[in-house]
């Protein structure tokens, strides 16, 4: 493939980000975009970007023989049906995380992809973050020796609205799924057992929906290493995304990104600006890279960087963590 013709399904915030990033790639061409609420506004937006087809009906994309690949950026409940349809049409797929809320459905989607011989990349954008990639390199190059411990901190600047909380699938499936994937990405080993603690400390609305807003998850990896993830829906000082890998020959620790390096010293103390506010700022370049690599994989015929299996494994860990919290006991992945 020399040029990849793309259809985007779902024109929400993340769909539009992927679109703008794809426009930067000389071998990507966005042929169509669909959204249930497509209207004049989206048409204008699409026209300014030279996207010819704007439709309310995703079928127009899925059945369009000119389209090589689809970006599935619609709500989670639509992911699996859309993946199956796209696979059936022989289209490569980029799908936002999680693939689904249901492991069995996820497995069906992966099987459909496998049978169709198409590629499926899952939107674990953080794998493309400059900081986390460097920590992984420090592990893979042997710089820190055998990994003994993986630590991940993941805190959002503010909780989502209640409408979102209600359908989010809970903190493990919605938010920590990124961290579960990061744990696998960094350690290069599978998670075998998890133990989750959770608490409602930010806002009682989470309790109303059977969710928690603050959680820690302990991990045991197949290679004997241990892991700890901590997560909060609200860090008032901004998006807090850090990882630490500790091993037999050293450690690699990655902190946040900041809008600038200026440090103000006054009679009150030494002050610097807060971290980049949220995922759009922090992972701006990571989003660009994940679409670039997806396109490059298709053009070169290489395997994609983050597969359906990666999505499935992260979902299994999320499921195990939820069960662990419910039953207050360690849960083996083999139970899921």
């Amino acid at each position: 493939m020399n040029k990849v013709k793309i259809g985007i399904i779902g024109a929400g915030r993340i769909g539009k980000i992927h679109a703008d990033n794809l426009l930067r790639h000389p071998q990507a061409e966005i042929a169509a975009i669909s959204d249930l609420f497509a209207g004049p506004e989206l048409e204008e937006w699409a026209q300014a970007r030279g996207i010819a087809i704007v439709t309310k009906n995703s079928e127009e994309i899925l059945n369009n023989p000119d389209i090589d690949a689809v970006f599935i950026c619609s709500s989670t409940d639509t992911h699996v049906p859309l993946i199956k349809q796209a696979a059936a049409q022989g289209k490569h797929i980029f799908c936002e995380k999680p693939l689904s809320m249901d492991i069995k459905q996820t497995e069906e989607a992966i099987e459909a992809v496998r049978n169709a011989g198409v590629q499926l990349q899952v939107g674990f954008n953080r794998r493309f973050d400059h900081n986390f990639k460097r920590v992984r390199e420090h592990i893979q190059s042997g710089a820190i020796g055998d990994a003994h411990l993986i630590k991940i901190t993941s805190r959002d600047p503010a909780p989502p609205p209640e409408a979102y909380i209600k359908v989010s699938g809970g903190i493990f499936m919605d938010m920590m799924i990124h961290d579960f994937d990061m744990a696998r990405f960094l350690s290069g080993s599978e998670v075998e057992e998890v133990y989750a603690q959770g608490s409602v400390l930010v806002d009682p609305v989470f309790a109303v929906h059977g969710d928690v807003d603050t959680a820690t998850v302990s991990l045991k990896f197949a290679n004997g290493a241990l892991g700890v993830i901590d997560c909060s829906r609200k860090a008032v000082y901004g998006y807090d995304q850090r990882v630490e890998a500790f091993g037999s020959k050293g450690s690699s620790v990655a902190g946040n990104d900041f809008p600038n390096t200026a440090v103000l010293s006054t009679a009150e103390g030494i002050v610097s600006d807060k971290p980049l506010h949220f995922f759009l700022e922090r992972y701006n370049v990571a989003y660009i890279e994940e679409t670039e690599q997806f396109i490059n994989s298709l053009v070169r015929g290489d395997a994609v960087a983050v597969t359906g299996e990666d999505g499935w494994q992260a979902e299994r860990i999320a499921r195990a963590a939820k069960l662990s919290l419910q039953e207050n006991r360690p849960v083996k992945l083999s139970e899921i």
Copy 2:
């Protein structure tokens, strides 16, 4: 009391450190030191410091009516008997951690102290560390709001010799007991439940003695906050002692201390020196402060900063952690 006359029991490394720190205090006077292996070397050491009595027999200290307070720096199995004897003689006590390996014995020691109306300070020196004190102030002043999460990293530069491992009481009682106390000190809340993960990744000798060398412990506090501690017997880059408190209004994070601030930039990268090597370097000032405050408390008649109850609580958490690891389940403190 205007001047405190002190007898030191146990002239090992830590006993001598306390002695030298006591010499700096204008209201402390070291009257005697005892050690099972006292000999010419210790006599010379004592003479250079103006310590009149050197003996193999701790009874000479315990029965000496001129002595107001004892520092118990002998092996852990002697702590409880010595505390009881000292209390019976009406002497105030500074005792190294842990008070004992047995909760019941610890309770007896505390009761003896209470009945005798003397003071008992436990050697949790890290409470006096400049960094950790500042984090606690950030919590107590309300600067970070309600505490949601306490994180503690505690890694030694190198494991102890096998002879020590054998009698150490295990990683939870020997090493993490400091961190359990730190968790209580920082959060200002009691631990109600723990879950421990452990692994032998540093040296198989730990397995030989039924111990682990790498561990994480998840904590639930009475006030709803969560906690995570990670611990390793070997960080090749040096003593790694950090804490982090995260709350509704912010976070307070304290890192390591370094021998200097010099940063070398070359074609190979940006390099700085490793953290202060081990506890003697890192907690040098903290050791001075803990003896100072003990003496000050006795002179003023104030309560000591770290009580027998603090020692007892930390031991209970250590015991619970050990049980949790053995049975791979969360353990409530109320079980202990």
Copy 3:
């Protein structure tokens, strides 16, 4: 003006950077590009970007009535003639620094621009750097009170080739001119006197061409503040670009940018990656912002952010610094 049609004169590295950055701006349209060595390669490059006209002759751009603004990215000796021609044709101008090597010529160019009523922005890209902008804000907001001292460090990772050194105009006009502008930008005050020290420590080739490779310049500002700039042609650890402003109420210090925040700790020490390598990496976003703001100024009819007068003042300081070094004495700007 709703859309700005642009012609780029000079298709070297910096011309192409500006072109790519202009392509991101919805109200900019690149109509033409000229280069003395235009050929098939440039034509292909232009075609991929939808640039219709590719020519060896800058007159085709200057005489094209459809073109609203020109980017002058050719060699320094062509700047003034091109500015005059463009002004005469009523075109707005973005010109790389320095405007010329000759103050009188620079004045003529500025006068031509003034008479024609067009806008001229000079390519002092560092004014748009996120770090330096924040320091300036700290000064302008009063956060550090009255400025007492401005310090600038400016070191390149490697010296340019001899061919460039020969025609560069010397370290003050070629390299430190950015720092002289930064000094004015930060302090908000004019430089009244300079004293320069210089030495050939990097490579004797600089001496061959009457230049130095290491220099410091002391500044006196009209508002009484002092300044110091240090400059080297070769910092083996990478591009070193830092500023510091010190005042009556505090200081604001901005450091380098790094490719990631990962810190590797091993038995050898604590290591992080070197700063972003050179100006293309460090000032990537600053280049984008300077073209954005230029276009925005034209569209809105606002004054540009960096004027011809700014270019002229920086050149005067460079000239004074050169004279100071030659005569080893402080030189007043009024002498120039």
Copy 4:
């Protein structure tokens, strides 16, 4: 010499600091202390430290045949006469900086010391600072290659009282003399020429006494390296003492020391505590080391670490800087 018997002349703040630091040294014994204003308070202070002789008359120390060495901590105008007398009595000498305000007198003092065959250490305590020592090691080990540039920042938290300013000898002799010595200490090369800028920006009282409160000094070293020092009498955020050495193979940069490493992140920003307040806090350990090394040198018969010649050279640079500021021109050291 196995034990050094010491007399301290001048019981002000710095005399008492040296006394307390000497008490820590097992081979130092303070035999006497003198002060013009000696009274009951000083007697009590001395008694608590086991110092037998307290006198108003320094002659009692200088003529006491039991005393091996004197610490001269009295006012600057008394330094030279006291050095001469002590040397004549065959006593070793530790003298606070500057040796005198007059180069000729300083030379006489040094000659007296040389003729008497005694040792003279000058109180340039910063040479013993952990950070600056590490930078010097980075230079001397070749880690940064040939030194090209030395940068020193030296700012006090608050200006001294007017009574002190009046007799201080001015910013160069009183304050920057430390930095001039540091420049020599770091570079390992002699200063050959200086150029000074100065301004009264902190308090007009400095102008009243012909002094400045803000200054920069440019240096040329014999080995071709350049230097820049900046100095202020008032940094509201605390004692700001940093150095930077830049060379052919890299740089070594040392920052301030802080009371703790805790970083508070809130909705307002990222905050840490101000640097250690002033010289007593920052150079606490350096003061201990300078007395230790002085005693060790006497005991071993080694040369002292900082000689009278070092004091003399720093005074010459101070004198040259003052002349440079007065005449607004670079001044060669050979003129002094």
